[in-house]
Symmetry: C2
Subunit: 220 residues, 2 copies
């Protein structure tokens, strides 16, 4: 369940905003040990489907990924805090049902879906991140059902798919998407997943992050 | 059809980013005259429903407004370019059908829905903006149907509702939402509509814009 390979957070991180340098990758087993018992734990999940269609006949979309606009006006993955007595996976499944109306009899997250856990020492925060692949048809149904979730329009304000291509100007598409506001380290969770699930190469991710940073610099 | 009252773009504009100072309000009749015939024209629409529910039992949502995540990774209203031979309203209805699968037999935009037109002299760009109120039940159906639009997942990457409240920290909610990336002057179109449709007072809007600007400054 633990992610033991160094599959690239450090290089994403070093190119990203300074606050995110404060997150440290940690083994799952350690993160749920006594040592971090009094930390705040949260669990978030990425549902995705491979999608090889071309956008405008030119840009390969590669995957549909379910993210959302949150009640607080910023982007993130569905999920939330682990309640007392829950383990991270139980919390994730509960939140998935509340937030996106996920049918847990069909698409439950399991231990096998754990991708990575990050630790923020100063904030005493542990962020568990899971990914789960479904078919494109299943994805579309999940997305549609998400608009009937109990919390839709109250805690969830929209279901979105990040564009995963970069357009001719080198900014529109994924780099522009990444320059929006994200909750916690969900931007880095997305990049980590794109890389480790082999959806986008680390070279392409580095180029996107550079483009995003350049744009932010130029608009100061 | 023309918006003749000075209903507040100038004060929103003066508090917003510098690029938006380049947009100038213009009378609709003038904007579609011979003088601007060779300019690029676009038409966008805001569908909304009043929604007095409380979010977390505390924050009045006030209205559900349909915006979207675009293919290029940024936020905007459905709509698009006016094709040769079309008037702005025809273009808007065509785009609404393509992008959000709007049932034009039930919810067509008409001349009465015109709110404001902006001109960008340097870019030779004319932006027509329309708003249309529907019931909350109608809104939910429109939103659901939007996920079955022809262009969903290809040109539209998600249907979202901006949060219209501000949370305890003075930033989460509408100010945080406004700090995301927006297409054209759609952020200003949103603020203009919130004010002129009496959904939020100009004082509250000014406070939100100030909070957004302060946050952007602090994160440089």
């Amino acid at each position: 369940m633990a992610s033991t390979d160094n599959c690239g957070f450090s290089d994403i991180e070093s190119q990203s905003s300074k606050t995110l340098l404060e997150y440290e990758e940690i083994l799952f087993q350690e993160s749920v040990s006594e040592k971090f018992k009094n930390f705040t734990h949260a669990a978030h999940g990425m549902l995705y489907a491979l999608d090889d269609r071309l956008v405008f006949g030119m840009f390969r979309q590669r995957a549909a990924i379910l993210m959302q606009l949150r009640f607080d006006g910023i982007l993130g993955f569905p999920g939330g805090l682990v309640d007392p007595g829950e383990n991270p996976m139980e919390a994730l499944n509960r939140e998935m049902e509340e937030e996106i109306n996920l049918d847990l009899t069909q698409h439950p997250f399991t231990n096998d879906n754990h991708l990575v856990t990050f630790l923020h020492h100063k904030k005493q925060l542990v962020l568990h991140f899971f990914t789960k692949e479904v078919s494109l048809d299943q994805f579309k149904n999940i997305e549609l059902k998400s608009l009937n979730a109990k919390e839709y329009g109250l805690e969830c304000f929209g279901s979105i798919r990040p564009p995963l291509f970069t357009m001719e100007d080198g900014f529109k598409g994924l780099p522009a998407f990444l320059s929006n506001q994200f909750a916690g380290n969900s931007r880095e969770q997305l990049l980590y997943a794109l890389k480790s699930r082999n959806i986008i190469t680390s070279e392409e991710i580095a180029t996107c992050v550079e483009s995003m940073k350049r744009h932010v610099e130029n608009n100061r």
